[in-house]
Amino acid sequence: MTERFTGAITTSLAEPWQEVFDLSTEELGVCWVNNSKSNGNTPYDPETSVYRSGEREVIIPSKNGALLTAIKAMVRNAKEMVCVSSFLIQQSRMTDALLEAANRGVAVFVLTAREDDLKKADDDFVDFERERIKDHIALLDQFAGKVLVRTSECFHAKYVLVDPRSEDPSGIMMTCNATVDPMFGSNIEVALTLTSSEVRSFFAHFLRGFWAMADHELLERGELRGVKKEIPASVSLGHLTLPATVGDVRSLEERVLGVIRNATNDLILTAWSFDSGSVHAAILDACRRGVRVTVLTRPNPRNTVALRDCAQAGARVFGHPRLHAKCVIADGHTGLIMTANMTALGLETGFETAVPLEGSTLDTLKRITEGWRGVCDWNLMDRVTPAMVDGSILQLSKEGTSLAPRTVSLGEERSLTAFRPDSCDKILEYSVSRKEIDRIMANDPQKVFRQLTLKQSIIPPRLPEGSKEEAQKDVPFPVFRKGKERHIVVRTWEEVRAAREPARKLNAKIVVGE
C-alpha cells in the first residue's frame, strides 16, 4: 500500500489536499425530468388553429383568437337564446357578444361560479386563474338585469349553445374557461363545434344544471340570492344522449373507463388533474395488459403522487405546466374530448360534459395530442439519479406535498476551511467527512451534483516559541517542553511515523521544527 505522505512535511503540504466525490448514483426518488434545453414551459404553437373535420371544426385556442371569433359568430346568429356554462368568465369579445344579443331581445342564460365558490374552489378548477376572480365578479354585475346568471360551486363544464330548441341549433364546447388568456392560447386547450344532436344533449345537461343544481342566481346587481331547486311542472329536462356528469348521472365516468378498458395497443390521456380514483386504477390495469399508455398533464404534487405508480408500471407520463385539455384516445379509433378532469370531482360529483369522437375528427385530435406531446418536456420518472438527468428536475418531497425545482451540475469544486491539527500524526489518518457533502447540498438545494471535488489546505503544527529542550535518552528525536506540554520535533513523514510510539509514551505532540 503506498503511503499518502512521504518526504519533507512542509513541502508535501504546500498545495491543498483534494478529494473527488462521485454522486451520480445518488437516488433522488420520484422526479419530473426535463432533459431538453428549454425551461419546460415551451408554448404550444400549432401550424393551424382550426381543423375542419366533416361537419365540425376542432379549434385550438391560440393567439389569433380563432376560438373567440367562432363563438362570437355563433352568438351573433342567435335568435331565441344563448346558454353558456363556464366556471370562470371574464369580459371579452364573447361576453360583449352576449350582451349585444341580450340587447336585441335574445334570452341569455349563464351557469357559472359565484365569488364564494371561486374562493374555496379546488385547484382543479381555478389554480393559476385565481387572479381572474375580481374580473369575474365585475362581469357578473355587468350581466345583472340583462343576462340570467345562476351559480353553483360545481359548474365546471364549458360550452356555449345557441338556439338549442330551434331546428338549426349550434354550439361549441371547450376545455378552457371563458377567460381571455386561455381563449387566446396561454394554455394547452382544445375546443370543438357541436352537431345539432350534440347541442340537444348539451342543452339537456344545461337544463339539469339550471333547474336542479344551481343554488344562487343574479337578478339584481351585486345581489346573488338563493334559489329553490324547484322545477316548474311544465319544464321537461330532456334526454342526455352524450356522456356527462350531472346530478346522479355518471355516464361520463363509465365512458372514460370503457375507453381505457377497451384499449389494446395504445392509450393517450390528457388532463389538468388526476387522482387515485377509478381512472388511475384503469391506467394501471392497461399498463399490466401491455398497452402503451401516454399521459399528458401538468407537473404538480397531486398529479405526481397520483401518477407515479403508473409511471412505475410503464406508463409514459409527460408534463407541461399549462396543459389543461382533457381527452382520451384509445388505439387511434375511439376517444372523447371532455370538460372533466380525471378526478372524482370531474367524474363523480361535478357538472361536466363530453363529446365522443371517432373517424377523421379523432385522427385530428390524435395529431393535436402529438403536438402537445412535443412541448411536454417533463417526464415523470421514479428512482431518478443525477446520472439520468441532463437538465433539470422537479423533485417530489418526501411528504408528497411539493415539487422542488433543481438543476443538474455535472462537476463542481468546493474549497473547505483549512485543517489545523495539533499533532502531525493526525494528518496521516485524515479524510474529508461525508457530512461536508450533505452540508454543501443542503446549502444549495436548487442543484443536483453528479460529481463534487473538495479542496482543503492542511497546516501542520509547529514547535511553540519559548519551548526548552529536555533530555530523553530513549527517544531518537529532539524533545521540547513548554509548561506541561511536551513536543517531539520532526521534519519528514517518515520521522512522523517513527515518532508515534515515543510520543504516545511521553504523551507528547509531534510537530514540525524550524
Partner: protein
C-alpha cells in the same frame, strides 16, 4: 284590519268649591254585607241583627246602623212592618235564580263562549243580546248585551227593572229569573232599598267615604263625553283653604241661602256644573281621572273658576267592533295617563268613513262588516301597493263629524278598496297577476295565480267573470317581454320556464 283613530284636544273648564264628596275607599267595606242583603230578600233591621250582628231581631243596633247608612245615602227607607212597595202596584217582582246569577256574572264579564248556542240565540231573539257577525271569508259571530240586556244583567244587586211580562215569562221559562218571595208581607220590620250610591258601592265593592273639603271640578261640553264632569280632585294647598271655604260657607248658610246670591253665582258657572249641583247627590265616573268613582254629595254655592291643571285630549278608535273605543289622555308637564272610557259617540265605522271621505260618501259599501271604498281602476293603476294589497292608507285633514265637531288630521290605514265596475276589476286583476309573477311561472302556475287573484274580487264580481278578462299565458309572456327593460326579473320568471325546457319533437 282597518284602523281609524280620531284625535283632538278637549276644551275643559275647572271650578273650585267647598264640597261634600264621597270617595270610594276600602275603609268602609264592612258595610258591603249590609248592602248585599238587597240581593237576599231585602235590607231590613231584623236581618242585619240576626245575620250580621248575631243578635235578636229587635236589637236597636240594626236600626241604628241602617239609619247611619241612610245618612251616608247608601240606602233609603221604603217601608215599615211588612208594607212592601210591591203591594202597592200590579208589578210582579223578580229575582235571579241560582242559574240566572251564574249567567249574570258571566255576561257581566263579557264571557259568551261557554254558553249553549241555543241559549244565546234565545236571548238574542228576546233582544237581550245583540248578535253581530264579522268577516266575509270566515264568518265569525260575537254577542254583546243589548239595551234590555244591560238593564237586566247589569242591574245592581237584586233590583231588576220592570220587565215586559212576556220577556219576564220567557226568562222564568229559561230558569234565569223567578218571582220574588214576598217575605215582607208578614213582617213588621223596616225595609230599605239601595240608593244609586249604594248600588254603585255594591257593584264596585267599595263604599264611599264622605269627606268635606275644597275640590276642583273639571268639566267639558265636548259631545264625545257621556258625563261632562271628568275630574274632581282635592285642591292642593291644604286645610287653610278648606277652612276659608268653611267660613264662607258658614256665612252663606247663616244668611239662609239667599236667592240673590244663588242667582248671581249661577250666572258665572257653566250649565254642566249647575246641573250637577242640582242633581246631587250623584255618583260620577270621572273620565279624566282613571275612571275613578266619586259621589258628589253637595256643592257649596261659592264657586271659583280656576285654571285647569292638565291638558286633556281624546283618541277615538274605530275598528270592526260595533262601538268605538275612546281613550282620554290626561297630560301634565311630567307624564301622560290614558284611560279608556264610555263615549257618547254613537256613529258606526261606516258613518265615520262617509264623514271622513265626504266627497266619496256614496262610494262606500259593506264588505263583510267593514266599509270598503269603490274605486275605478284608473285611481289605483299607478299605485302598486293599492293594486296588490287592495288597501289604501291616506291622511284626512281636519275631519269633521257632524254633531261631534272637528278632529286633528287623521291617518286612515288599510281602507279596503274594491273595483267599481267589472271592467275595473278586470284591469285591476290583470295588474295583480302580472305583479304576482315573483317567481318562475309556467302555464300551470300562471293559471293557479290567476285563480288566486280573481278570488280577491269576489266580494264584487264572480271570479269567472273577472278571470275571463285576464291575459292568457301567452299574452302574459308577451306583456312581460315588452317590459323586459323596466322589469327584467319578471321577464326571466316568465320566459325561463318556457325557454329552458325541452320542446316536444326536439
Amino acid at each position: 284590519m282597518m284602523d281609524v283613530i280620531l284625535k283632538r284636544g278637549i276644551n275643559v273648564e275647572s271650578y273650585e268649591a267647598l264640597m261634600d264628596v264621597g270617595r270610594f275607599k276600602d275603609e268602609y267595606k264592612f258595610l258591603l254585607p249590609v248592602l248585599a242583603l238587597s240581593e237576599e230578600g231585602g235590607i231590613t233591621d231584623d236581618l242585619v241583627n240576626t245575620r250580621l250582628f248575631g243578635v235578636s231581631e229587635d236589637d236597636p243596633r240594626g236600626r241604628r246602623l241602617l239609619e247611619t247608612m241612610v245618612g251616608y245615602r247608601l240606602i233609603e227607607k221604603k217601608g215599615l212592618k211588612g208594607v212592601s212597595t210591591n203591594e202597592h202596584s200590579d208589578h210582579i217582582g223578580y229575582r235571579f235564580t241560582e242559574r240566572g246569577q251564574l249567567i249574570r256574572e258571566r255576561l257581566q264579564q263579557g264571557q259568551y263562549s261557554g254558553f249553549h248556542e241555543e241559549l244565546l240565540q234565545e236571548l238574542s231573539r228576546l233582544q237581550i243580546l245583540q248578535r253581530t257577525t264579522y268577516g266575509f271569508l270566515e264568518l265569525r259571530v260575537e254577542y254583546s248585551l243589548d239595551h234590555l240586556g244591560k238593564k237586566i244583567f247589569l242591574s245592581i244587586g237584586g233590583n231588576l227593572p220592570e220587565l215586559p211580562q212576556d220577556v219576564a215569562s220567557e226568562l222564568v221559562e229559561l230558569g234565569i229569573l223567578e218571582p220574588l218571595r214576598n217575605q215582607s208581607r208578614s213582617s213588621a220590620t223596616s225595609y230599605y232599598e239601595l240608593t244609586e250610591t249604594g248600588r254603585r258601592a255594591l257593584q264596585e265593592g267599595q263604599v264611599p267615604v264622605p269627606e268635606k273639603g275644597v275640590y276642583v271640578l273639571t268639566g267639558t261640553t265636548d259631545p264625545l263625553f257621556v258625563e261632562p264632569v271628568i275630574a274632581c280632585r282635592p285642591k292642593e294647598g291644604g286645610r287653610e283653604i278648606g277652612q276659608e271655604f268653611d267660613r264662607i260657607a258658614q256665612l252663606s248658610r247663616n244668611k239662609g241661602k239667599s236667592q240673590g246670591v244663588g242667582k248671581k253665582q249661577k250666572k258665572n258657572i257653566p250649565v254642566w256644573l249647575d246641573e250637577l249641583r242640582r242633581a246631587t247627590p250623584r255618583v260620577l265616573t270621572l273620565a279624566a281621572q282613571d275612571r275613578e268613582l266619586i259621589q258628589i254629595i253637595g256643592i257649596d254655592e261659592n264657586i271659583n273658576q280656576v285654571q285647569p291643571g292638565d291638558k286633556i285630549s281624546v283618541n277615538l278608535r274605530f275598528s270592526l267592533r260595533p262601538t268605538p273605543e275612546m281613550a282620554v289622555i290626561r297630560s301634565d308637564r311630567k307624564k301622560e295617563r290614558k284611560t279608556v272610557v264610555e263615549t257618547a259617540f254613537d256613529l258606526t265605522l261606516m258613518d265615520v268613513m262617509r264623514c271622513l271621505f265626504r266627497e266619496k260618501q256614496y262610494d262606500f259599501v259593506e264588505c263583510g262588516n267593514a266599509p270598503a271604498l269603490l274605486v275605478a281602476y284608473e285611481e289605483v293603476m299607478g299605485n302598486p301597493s293599492e293594486i296588490n294589497r287592495m288597501l289604501r292608507t291616506t291622511t284626512v285633514h281636519a275631519p269633521e263629524i257632524q254633531g261631534f265637531g272637528r278632529f286633528d288630521d287623521v291617518i286612515v290605514s288599510d281602507l279596503p278598496l274594491l273595483p267599481r265596475t267589472l271592467e275595473d276589476a278586470g284591469n285591476w286583476a290583470r295588474d295583480c297577476v302580472i305583479n304576482g309573477i315573483t317567481t318562475y311561472t309556467d302555464e300551470t302556475s300562471y293559471n293557479q295565480l290567476c285563480d288566486r287573484e280573481v278570488v280577491r274580487f269576489s266580494e264584487r264580481f264572480a271570479p269567472d267573470q273577472v278571470k275571463s278578462r285576464l291575459p292568457t299565458y301567452q299574452e302574459m309572456v308577451t306583456i312581460v317581454k315588452e317590459r323586459r327593460e323596466t322589469d327584467p326579473n319578471k321577464y326571466w320568471f316568465a320566459t325561463a320556464p318556457m325557454l329552458l325546457s325541452f320542446r316536444e319533437g326536439m
